[in-house]
């Protein structure tokens, strides 16, 4: 059973425990840092892979649009520009809704993926599982279709009973498209040409 308390052994035991435990944790932190970073890197690589066609390398950059900073991954295959995977966060129904939006250099959305959300389970949360909703973003061309939900006169099919989440999702895509436009210009000039015809061919 427990020892009798006096000031010396109280300070000694509590101090030693704290030191020892911090030491153990510092060691464990150093040991697990590598796998933790690897897991995070793998997750990012996987989400970029989901939203863009085949690429070999990415670089992490950022661009400012209307005072808001967007981080994006610029993906290249050899020296050909494949597209941009833009991280876009908006306010959803229950809190932040973070997407990664893959956009090819011609401005067409290749695919989207939810990074994190706090939407209502079974309703707004479907934005990451409902195939009909997710599917419509593949090859969505903002130049031809209007980026807002049908209720607001656009071309996006909203998730049943989750108009607010759908609007937020659409806004996130819209922001990402705007971000790519802001990056755009000169990049398109020397690499876009080789990509554009291929995309058009596959669209027809």
């Amino acid at each position: 059973m427990a020892a009798k308390s006096n000031l010396v052994n109280m300070v000694l035991v509590l101090g030693t425990t704290c030191l020892l435990c911090s030491g153990i944790l510092a060691g464990a932190y150093a040991l697990t840092k590598e796998p933790i970073d690897a897991a995070a890197a793998e997750k990012t690589a996987r989400s970029i892979g989901e939203v863009l066609p085949h690429f070999t390398e990415t670089s992490y950059e950022s661009v400012e649009v209307d005072g808001k900073t967007y981080n994006y991954y610029k993906a290249v295959d050899g020296d050909r520009l494949v597209g941009y995977a833009v991280e876009s966060t908006v306010v959803g129904f229950g809190g932040p809704l973070s997407l990664i939006v893959g956009i090819t250099p011609d401005g067409v959305v290749y695919n989207t993926s939810v990074l994190s959300h706090s939407e209502t389970p079974g309703l707004g949360a479907k934005c990451s599982t409902d195939e009909k909703f997710i599917g419509q973003w593949k090859g969505f061309n903002p130049a031809e279709k209007k980026l807002s939900v049908r209720k607001d006169g656009g071309d996006v099919d909203a998730i049943t009973a989750s108009t607010i989440t759908s609007r937020a999702y659409t806004l996130a895509v819209e922001n990402a498209v705007a971000a790519v436009k802001a990056i755009g210009g000169d990049v398109n000039a020397h690499t876009g040409a080789s990509v554009k015809p291929m995309e058009e061919a596959s669209n027809e």
Binding site: C18, C21, S22, L25, A26, Y29, K68, T89, V91, G92, F93, G94, G95, P96, S98, T120, I164
Partner: protein, 200 residues
Amino acid sequence: MEYFLIIISAIFVNNIVLAQFLGICPFIGVSNKLSTASGMSMAVCFVITLATLVTWLINHYLLVPFQLEFLQTIAFILVIAALVQMVEIVLKKVSPALYQALGIFLPLITTNCAVLGVAITVVTKEFTFGGEAHLLNLGESLVYAFATSLGYGLAMVIFAGIREHLALSDVPKAFKGVPIALVSVGILALAFMGFSGMVK
């Protein structure tokens, strides 16, 4: 306006007990009587706000600059335990009346997950009050913590009122005590779900 949103959101929309499931043990444990329930709520309110202040400062001025975030859990719980002890000692000296009222609840609060839960939430979770996702600053954190604990008090007092009635009703044997209490909380939570989506 932003503070107002935080307050409404923390009290009603994301009520700490009915939507976030924090602090359930004392919620079930001491809500038999209205008087103890309000005493406990006041003690929790006091400790949550104070603990959030201290842990927020520690996180931003000690853990983050020295890259010691991995000690977050251990540092926060130690701070909370020490804080609760200190509050107890100070209260005993300064205001014996308040100590009489809150005293028996204070030691229980160390292991009330609402306190640690709120302390961790305000330094790790991004909120979208006022449009953009961001971590809360000190002022917002304090308002959030205080409003959250008000929400705790609200849920606690409503529930204690219900339980005082439950105690007088004829409940089937297998339902007696905690089971019927849980079923009632479920219905209460259902009612609070009506607030969801009110604040974004």
